[in-house]
């Protein structure tokens, strides 16, 4: 006779295992086989994994509702254990993680079906689906994680797949540069999360959410750290969330991410990935509760992002950028809601917003067609009425605001001029000093690599 716990355990394994098996199948076939799998096989594998994962997660939800259980931990054992350190692989099904997992399966399933047609005969079809499966796995692991280390693992997978998908059309330099920019921001947000994880390890001797967020089911947990510690850890987690959700001052990467294929833009930056920071804040909301100052910072950051994104979104000249800023506006509001302690509202806001935005992104390529249909229907150009602010503000202010918006708040320029450029200058100077030193020791020119540009050529030239 199967006990309920065993059924939960088996279903939980299906939820996490299906994306893992999908990624392993597609990844290994790329590495080991001379020829990639056919489009049909890839598409079927994706659909099967999504359907299994979705059915299992809905079944878990049904059982939780039926049995009145609000918290189902599934422990897959201790992955690493030495006396001062242990790493438990644990997944938690609760009111936060289950809706997020179901949302992930639904949206990834929809986009997977869409992409199998949209990407038909695209040279990187296989590559797209490998990265898509990595993203799906990362999302599921992050959503269901029961320890901060597991969350970090999923978080990194999402980051890697996102950066590589932004650079998907890698024959052109622009997507590649944008992919690198996304990766840079993600690495710093990952670093903040890693530091937070280490600090928590030291504070509560472990990374289990139960230990530092309390054993009560979400959102009723009571964090087991002091107010000052909560502020320190909370700020680190906020930095991580800001990077992942493109909050100010990291918002510059979001429009750049639109260089990727439309299906990935839709599901990643419009719907799921962009909400991951908000999800993290929801998950650690018992920590936020401990520090009013931290809550104020969260609200201010959310509102600043919302205002910034609303402003920038109005000046965008392409539909994907406009949609991404619209998306960011809502994410900013969601973050502010979390700071205000409105957790269920924030969760519902995430779910609704993600679905709406996915639909809008998927429809984006047909925007002109839609507009034409509308104009044909009414027999004239769509009317454009001046907005409230347009009437209220002077022309000079409007021009200033427009420049601010079209330059996306000068955030990219700020990061380039005040962080990247000085960094490069310092290390280029160091490189120059090293060159002088080795030249001096060698008694002549010491670097063969200077000739790399002229020396490199096709193989036949070397033979």
């Amino acid at each position: 006779m199967l006990s309920y716990d065993l059924i939960f355990h088996l279903l939980g394994l299906c939820v996490v295992g299906a994306p893992a098996v999908l990624f392993a199948t597609l990844g290994l076939s790329t590495l080991l086989r001379q020829r990639p799998l056919t489009e049909r096989t890839i598409s079927r594998c994706s659909q099967t994994a999504i359907v299994i994962g979705l059915i299992a997660s809905v079944a878990i939800l049904g059982m939780m509702l039926g049995l009145g259980r609000r918290h189902v931990p599934i422990n897959l054992g201790t992955w690493v254990h030495i006396p001062d350190y242990h790493f438990v692989v644990k997944f938690e099904f609760d009111r936060l993680s289950v809706p997020f997992a179901i949302l992930t399966f639904v949206l990834c399933g929809t986009i997977g079906a869409f992409a199998s047609r949209y990407m038909h005969r695209e040279p990187g079809y296989n590559r797209f689906f490998v990265l898509y499966s990595l993203f799906l796995l990362g999302m599921i692991v992050t959503s269901l994680s029961g320890t901060i280390e597991t969350l970090f693992s999923g978080w990194e997978m999402v980051g890697l797949s996102s950066a590589l998908l932004v650079a998907f059309f890698h024959e052109r330099p622009a997507p590649v540069r944008n992919g690198l920019r996304v990766w840079v921001v993600y690495r710093f947000s990952d670093a903040a999360l890693l530091i937070a994880s280490v600090v928590l390890h030291h504070l509560v001797s472990g990374g289990d959410f139960d230990k530092f967020l309390g054993t009560a089911p979400w959102p009723d947990g009571k964090a087991a750290i002091s107010g000052y510690e909560a502020l320190l850890v909370g700020l680190l987690l906020l930095a991580a969330a800001a990077g992942k959700s493109a909050l100010v001052p990291f918002s510059g990467w979001l429009p750049r991410a639109m260089e990727g294929p439309t299906p990935s833009s839709a599901v990643f930056y419009g719907a799921l990935s962009v909400h991951l920071g908000a999800f993290l804040l929801l998950r650690v909301s018992p920590i936020l509760q401990l520090s009013p100052l931290l809550c104020v910072v969260v609200v201010l950051l959310g509102l600043t992002t919302a205002v910034y994104a609303a402003l920038a979104g109005h000046a965008q000249t392409d539909i994907k950028s406009a949609l991404c800023f619209a998306s960011l506006t809502q994410v900013g509001i969601i973050v502010a809601e979390i700071g205000l302690g409105l957790r269920y509202i924030a969760l519902v806001h995430i779910l609704g917003h993600a679905c709406l935005r996915t639909l809008q992104f998927v429809r984006a390529p047909t925007l002109l067609q839609d507009r034409r249909i509308l104009e044909n229907a009414i027999g004239e150009r769509l009317p454009r009425m001046p907005g409230f602010w347009e009437r209220m503000l002077s022309e000079r202010t409007r021009i200033w605001l427009y420049r601010f918006a079209i330059e996306r708040g000068y955030l990219d320029s700020f990061l380039n001029d005040y962080i990247v450029a000085p960094f490069r200058r310092v290390f280029t100077w160091c490189d120059g000093m090293e060159r002088r030193s080795t030249d001096l020791l060698t008694g002549g020119k010491s670097r063969e690599s200077d000739r790399a540009e002229t020396a490199s050529g096709p193989l036949e030239e070397l033979l």
Binding site: V80, M157, E171, L459, E460
Partner: protein, 496 residues
């Protein structure tokens, strides 16, 4: 001391030496490669045999049976212990895979005889615990790259100056240690410690003593430079020569300087304009991580450093082999433009990413847990400065992706010959990738073994001035052989 069931250590070294001799007499490069592969393969099998045999014995250290070395030197020189047990197969694997993945375009320039000689020396170094033996072997180890530089008529001054200084400092330092009562005497003067410290800095490439490393990558063949640095012999010297005798404050100073080097090298890697130099700085940053963790004498940091040592040996070894494979196809690789090689060699691109990600501690790879442990230990030791290690790891990750984009993306490179990965290269990179993934998905065995090695190292430090007694808990029933094993250090027990 317990004996292994077969003389694995002596076999691995002897086979490499015989191989060097045989291969040096062959004129045909193809034939030389085939023989070198055979000898290197046997050496690899011997080291794996030694590791498994040692694992089965459940002791802290063991030596070869039949005691050939005792007849020659009067005592056992070659010993396998918790620290060296996995390092020996790692070194042998790197040599084997490098020989295997050497393409025809490179076999005339790459000396297989010197490579086998170098393999014998490195295996002997990692099997030796005798201080003077280690000093002699580390000194000998500098000769094969030097010979190659001379043979290729490349500038040798930078390399020779650094290595000469390294050897002199090691000899001077240990002479003082001997004069002050040898390593049994736990307190030593700075006259003994400082020269040893500087020697370790030079061999490990700690800034500002790292110029020889970039110079070696500039002028030697990629394979030789790769094999000279990837085993991280400097860290081995630090563990054997400095760790047992240096006071805590000295170790902490080394840790801080290594931390600076890790950040500096990761920043330097980002501004490099050529792939070899980039690899050199990336490696430098990672090896500084290892040294830093080793010198923070806490169980967590030490375990993390030993895990990272293994993981970067495999991951950066694979990363270097991937770059070398690309270099065989395109010549020296500048990083100032996009090369567009993805369509030609997608498998190499995947391996590049996989090994690169493993080196920066991406989840699911061998490097992940080691990096977590190391960061944990460093932050514990230096709560604020320690965060720099996370910064360095982030910069390394950025550099890795930047290089990936520069090499594999961009307008598709056109070539009239196939640039596909060869079956040998595919085998080499898949073996490394599989080890990285399997080690990453099931890390406990590796972490446990490294924890035991850390326990042994801390045990050896007991009584050193300034070093607080460290209590290491036992893990489970297969560990406590330590207690029995500690007795085996006692000379009166003799051979079992």
């Amino acid at each position: 001391m317990t004996d292994l069931h077969l003389p694995w250590l002596e076999a691995s070294i002897l086979v490499s030496l015989i191989g060097a001799l045989v291969v040096s007499r062959l004129r045909d490069s193809d034939e030389a490669r085939r023989w070198a592969l055979g000898f290197s393969g046997i050496a690899l099998a011997s080291t794996i045999g030694a590791w498994l045999d040692f694992h089965e014995l459940h002791v802290v250290e063991a030596d070869d049976c039949w005691h050939l070395m005792t007849y020659i030197f009067g005592h056992e020189v070659l010993i396998i212990d918790q620290l060296s047990a996995p390092l020996l197969p790692l070194v042998a694997l790197l040599y084997f895979l490098t020989a295997l993945a050497t393409l025809r375009t490179k076999i005339r320039r790459f000396s297989f005889a010197l490579t086998l000689l170098s393999e014998a020396i490195v295996l002997a170094t990692f099997s030796c615990k005798e201080p003077w033996g280690i000093i002699a072997l580390l000194s000998l180890g500098t000769i094969p790259p030097l010979l190659e530089l001379i043979h290729r008529r490349k500038p040798i001054r930078v390399f020779a100056l650094h290595m000469g200084l390294f050897i002199v400092l090691m000899i001077v330092g240990w002479r003082f240690v001997d004069l002050e009562g040898g390593d049994q005497q736990r307190v030593h003067s700075l006259w003994a410690i400082i020269p040893l410290l500087l020697a370790i800095f030079i061999r490990s490439g700690i800034a500002p003593f790292h110029l020889w490393m970039s110079d070696l990558f500039e002028h030697a063949t990629f394979g030789t430079a790769l094999l000279f640095v990837t085993p991280i012999a400097g860290a081995y010297a630090a563990v054997r020569l400095v760790l047992p005798i240096a006071p805590d404050w000295v170790l902490r100073s080394i840790g801080l300087i290594s931390l600076f080097t890790a950040v500096y090298a990761s920043g330097m890697a980002l501004v490099q304009r050529e792939a070899r130099r980039y690899f050199c700085y990336l490696f430098l940053s990672h090896s500084a991580f290892v040294l830093m963790g080793l010198e923070i004498v806490t169980p967590t940091a030490l375990t993390g450093a030993l895990c990272v040592w293994l993981s970067i040996g495999l991951s950066l070894g694979g990363f270097g082999l991937t770059l070398r494979a690309l270099e065989s196809r395109r010549g020296r690789l500048s990083l100032t433009d996009f090369k567009g090689l993805y369509e030609h060699a997608p498998a190499l691109a995947v391996c590049f990413l996989l090994t690169g990600l493993a080196s920066v501690g991406f989840p699911g790879t061998l490097g992940f847990v080691g990096t977590e442990l190391l960061v944990d230990g460093v932050v514990e030791a230096y709560p604020y400065i320690g965060i720099a290690v996370v910064l360095a790891a982030a910069l390394n990750g950025i550099g890795m992706m930047q290089t990936y984009f520069q090499l594999f993306t961009g307008t598709r490179y056109t070539s009239s010959v196939s640039l596909q990965i060869s079956p040998r290269e595919r085998f080499a990179v898949i073996v490394l990738a599989a080890l990285l993934m399997v080690g990453g998905l099931a890390p406990q065995t590796n972490v446990k073994s490294r924890y035991h090695a850390a326990a042994e190292l801390l045990h050896e430090r007991e009584g050193v001035s300034g070093s607080p007694p460290v209590e290491m808990e036992m893990l489970d029933e297969d560990v406590p052989h330590d207690e029995d094993a500690h007795h085996e250090h006692e000379p009166e027990k003799g051979h079992k």
